[in-house]
Subunit: 197 residues, 2 copies
């Protein structure tokens, strides 16, 4: 028996991250119930994304253009490069709207367990950028995980011969966070890095 | 500034049920990261659903064919009609694989608050089916909510002049359910409908 159009749609939707069988069925039903209204916008958005989205050859982020909007924006400070693991991190920092430099997406972290060595990260293109343009600061905005911090240390060592500042994000109490609920590691970091009031 | 392809995709995905901004961003990133591999299956499934899915003119369910696979299946018992609120209920009962009759999808419930009267439900086509074919039983498989039960009572009254059996689903303890966690209404119903062991 051939797969029905609805079952095919449910299967395709079920491949999206954190969408299980139940959610996929709800989504498919939502779409086909008013199909003329609801399917075309998603269908067109997918077609456009398939055609237009490309990886920026400078920073490694995803955008419609290459170089991406951030790398080709003259109003941004191209002397400060924020190094992140993933495109999602670029989006997160952009949403915070307080960083006006440019990015460099590594495409992951070092991980001996998963067999990801330095050659799997976009490190050569980072050093090329540092050699080519006058960069004054590299911010290592990597996750506060073992893999993230290992990667940060590796990059810091590799960039030691360059003359720019190498910085990292601050550790501390999240905004709105209560001390009582904070883990010991974060609380220690917040105490160590205490600042004049 | 025109909307980028990725933002357009995030917006379209965010319109799916129970998908918020964060999930939509995750989905969009998942899709565009390996776009040649991940976008075409969903894109094609949407195109096929848009073109092929139709409402069954007999039962009101959604399928590629009209009449739907269930209504056109001779191995099913067309003398037993299971009346449900929504297409999702047809899918739920089909998954349980124990019902071998046919369905009739009402398309909702009566609701004075939302201004949904009997004319908004597919009731005329139900009575037409009852007149045209020799139906021996109508199962009112409606939700155990106020709206569902009101609708069930309304339909039962309207079908009183026909000679078939009108049944409803049993209320009782869900399989795997513990008495201690059960609400009073369900426990009462289970006690009232107790059966010889």
């Amino acid at each position: 028996m051939p797969v029905s159009a609805i079952d095919q749609l449910i299967t395709a939707l079920g491949k999206l991250p954190s969408v299980g069988g139940r959610s996929a069925r709800r989504m498919a039903l939502h779409l086909v119930k008013q199909k003329q209204l609801r399917i075309p916008p998603l269908h067109q958005a997918l077609a456009r994304a398939l055609e237009e989205v490309k990886t920026c050859s400078i920073c490694g982020a995803l955008d419609d253009t290459d170089p991406c909007r951030i790398c080709s924006d003259d109003r941004r400070n191209h002397k400060i490069i924020c190094v992140v693991e993933d495109v999602a991190d670029v989006w997160a920092i952009e949403r915070a709207q307080s960083f006006h430099g440019v990015y460099h997406v590594l495409g992951g972290t070092l991980s001996a367990l998963d067999g990801r060595g330095p050659e799997s990260l976009r490190l050569d293109s980072l050093t090329e950028r540092l050699s080519a343009q006058q960069v004054t600061e590299v911010i290592l905005a990597l996750s506060a995980t073992v893999a993230g911090q290992t990667t940060a240390h590796y990059i810091a060592e590799r960039l030691a011969s360059y003359s720019m500042h190498i910085t990292r994000l601050a550790h501390g109490i999240p905004m709105g966070g209560e001390l009582d609920y904070l883990d010991d590691g974060t609380l220690n970091a917040a105490l160590q890095s205490r600042l004049p009031f």
